[in-house]
């Protein structure tokens, strides 16, 4: 969808229908393979239990949205998937969290190799203070790409996929810090998909973006779904409804302050026919 068309398309309902049609290409996700699976997964920061007893699946080639109020443990769960917590002293997980049936926290799993299979886009765009080209090439070089031509071709391909190519093609070798926030975030997405991970984790990737850039990212997700498994944390209900196949709703247990999974299922059902009263309150905006 071109930017001009988006600008004229101010009627959000119509837009929803347009993008929703893309989602609705696939009504039934339950036949897809389980890419990620959590079984009674718990997570602790020292003595504080941040996640308790999470059980859910994230299916291959589908988009799973994680929604819930602030502090309920969405980021914790997302970051547990690529072991980003390894750096945090005292943080540990137990129970099962599996990628293709292999326990992510098992002793046989190497965090570095794991992260090459699982890319991540952070809430705040965190580009390196390097050129636009190098921001993407770093990850590729780490993954063993050294041929200059292939590298350049892959960088271009990723920038195109992230809908950034046209804006930066003339200044690939100038600093990434000179880009706008939204452009930086799309650069981070390009960087994350460059080494062809199998899973793409996105933590509120659009929280710093304007509506147009947000829509671009959503379209990108729907396109990337063909190749990747996407898990996205979002505070934006419309975004979850528009651009995800399945939705997990999380809530903090008022007594223990640890995060729980309240309801998980196809996005349509979560938003139109939730089973739990708390889910209904949250998605209809009557929460708290």
């Amino acid at each position: 969808m071109s930017e001009a068309r988006l600008l004229t398309n101010t009627n959000s309902l119509r837009r929803n229908v347009a993008v929703g049609a893309l989602v609705r290409e696939r009504e039934h996700t339950d036949t897809l393979a389980h890419k990620l699976e959590a079984k009674n997964f718990n997570f602790y920061y020292g003595t504080f239990q941040a996640l308790s007893d999470i059980s859910m699946v994230m299916r291959e080639h589908s988009i799973t949205a994680i929604i819930g109020p602030s502090g309920c443990g969405k980021s914790t769960l997302l970051r547990a998937i690529n072991r980003m917590h390894d750096q945090t002293p005292g943080a540990r997980g137990n129970g099962q969290l599996m990628l293709d049936g292999q326990n992510i926290y098992g002793p046989e799993t190497d965090a570095v190799l794991l992260r090459r299979r699982i890319g991540m886009v952070f809430q705040r765009p965190n580009v390196f203070a390097k050129s636009i080209f190098d921001n993407i090439a770093y990850g590729l070089r780490i993954a063993g790409w050294h041929d200059r031509k292939q590298l350049a071709a892959r960088v271009e391909q990723c920038l195109r996929q992230a809908a950034l190519w046209d804006e930066v093609k003339d200044r690939l070798h100038s600093s990434a810090l000179g880009l706008s926030g939204g452009q930086q975030q799309r650069l981070c997405i390009a960087r994350a998909i460059a080494p062809r991970p199998e899973v793409l984790l996105m933590d509120e990737p659009c929280s710093a973006l304007d509506p147009i850039a947000t829509l671009k990212v959503e379209e990108l997700m729907l396109e990337l779904r063909r190749e990747y498994t996407i898990v996205i944390v979002t505070h934006n209900m419309q975004q979850a409804a528009r651009a995800s196949d399945e939705t997990a709703f999380m809530l903090m247990d008022p007594a223990t302050r640890s995060g729980q999974l309240i309801e998980f299922g196809p996005t349509n059902r979560i938003f139109t026919n939730p089973q739990d009263k708390r889910t209904e309150d949250y998605v209809t905006g009557q929460f708290g």
Binding site: N126, F128, I142, S174
Partner: protein, 325 residues
């Protein structure tokens, strides 16, 4: 009406803070100018005090060897050479080591050893230089002579004049460089640790998330981000080495009249030359020459600092067209 009144009190308040601004501005300006005045005063004293020697030797003083107070024959080259070489050796050794220690303290050290180790590094920086010198004289010089200098001079030194003997005295440029390295090591390590500690976590996470190992993360995300600060730390260490007097004097061998081709040979640094001779300079020419040596040292440190500024500025500028320029 009430609104207008409130507005006017607000305005007077603003006026008042404006005065505050002016006073504060004048105060800071005064102290900033004082720094400039101090530098100028030091330079002026050295310039005037050295006029006799300058008039006699001219610019060739910088390129001449020889040191004979009785014949009034002086040259600065050995002191310049000794200063630059001993400090250069110190930086070559302490630079990489200090950065590695800083990296270890900030990135790799287990939490529970962090503060004791950091404390010890800071303690090392606080030891007075005369104690380093003493340790150098009694412990390091004998050890270095028989276990390092002698074997090297006997083997490699046969074909490399820079590492040739004799090593009998033990004291020399190399030993001084090593002692200076030990002295500036904690400075470099502590500064590196501090600048790495403020590298934002999201930079580390960005690198890890694309599948970097810890070492790749440090090398490609953490160190580049902290580059300007690390260079600053190196230059601070170098500055300390250039100006160090006591420890250098005790181990460098005090050879003032010629340049030894070997690093194991004796030498002198500008600072230690001035410190050791000024108290018993026997005539005005001798005194004036020593002040000129001090002026030369002043010039060397100014040049080094200007160069450091340039490096830091370039490092901070980042890639072409960076928004941080």
């Amino acid at each position: 009406m009430a609104q207008a009144e409130r507005l006017s009190t607000w305005q007077t308040f603003q006026q008042r803070t404006k005065h505050g601004d002016v006073i504060f501005w004048l105060l800071t300006l005064f102290f900033a100018l004082m720094v400039v005045a101090l530098v100028a005063a030091v330079g002026y004293v050295a310039w005037v005090g050295s006029s006799e020697a300058r008039g006699r030797f001219g610019l060739s003083f910088l390129f001449k060897t020889g040191w004979d107070p009785n014949a009034q024959n002086f040259g600065a080259l050995p002191a310049i050479y000794g200063t630059l070489v001993s400090s250069g050796i110190a930086l070559l050794i302490a630079g990489p080591l200090g950065i590695l220690i800083g990296v270890f303290l900030s990135e790799l050290c287990p939490q529970r050893f962090k503060s004791p180790l950091s404390f010890m590094v800071e303690l090392l920086a606080a030891i007075p230089s005369v104690i380093y010198g003493m340790w150098g004289v009694f412990v390091f010089v004998p050890f270095f002579r028989s276990w390092v200098a002698a074997p090297i001079a006997k083997s490699v030194g046969k074909s490399f004049p820079l590492l040739a003997g004799p090593v009998a005295a033990g004291r020399g440029l190399m030993v001084a460089g090593i002692i200076l390295a030990i002295m500036i090591l904690p400075t470099i390590a502590a500064i590196t640790r501090d600048v790495l500690a403020v590298v934002p976590n999201h930079q580390r996470e960005a690198m890890l998330a694309v599948g970097a190992t810890r070492w790749e993360m440090i090398r490609k995300a953490v160190l580049p981000y902290a580059r300007a600060g690390i260079i600053g730390g190196l230059m601070l260490g170098l500055g300390r080495a250039l100006g160090e007097t006591m420890a250098a004097l005790m181990v460098i061998g005090s050879v003032k009249d010629k340049i030894s081709t070997s690093l194991f040979g004796g030498g002198i640094t500008a600072a230690s030359l001035v410190a050791s001779e000024l108290p018993n300079a026997n005539d005005s020419m001798h005194e004036s020459t020593l002040i000129l040596i001090a002026l030369v040292l002043f010039g060397i440190t100014l040049c080094v600092n200007a160069f450091a500024r340039l490096l830091v500025w370039q490092a901070a500028r980042g890639p072409v067209g960076s928004a941080r320029s």
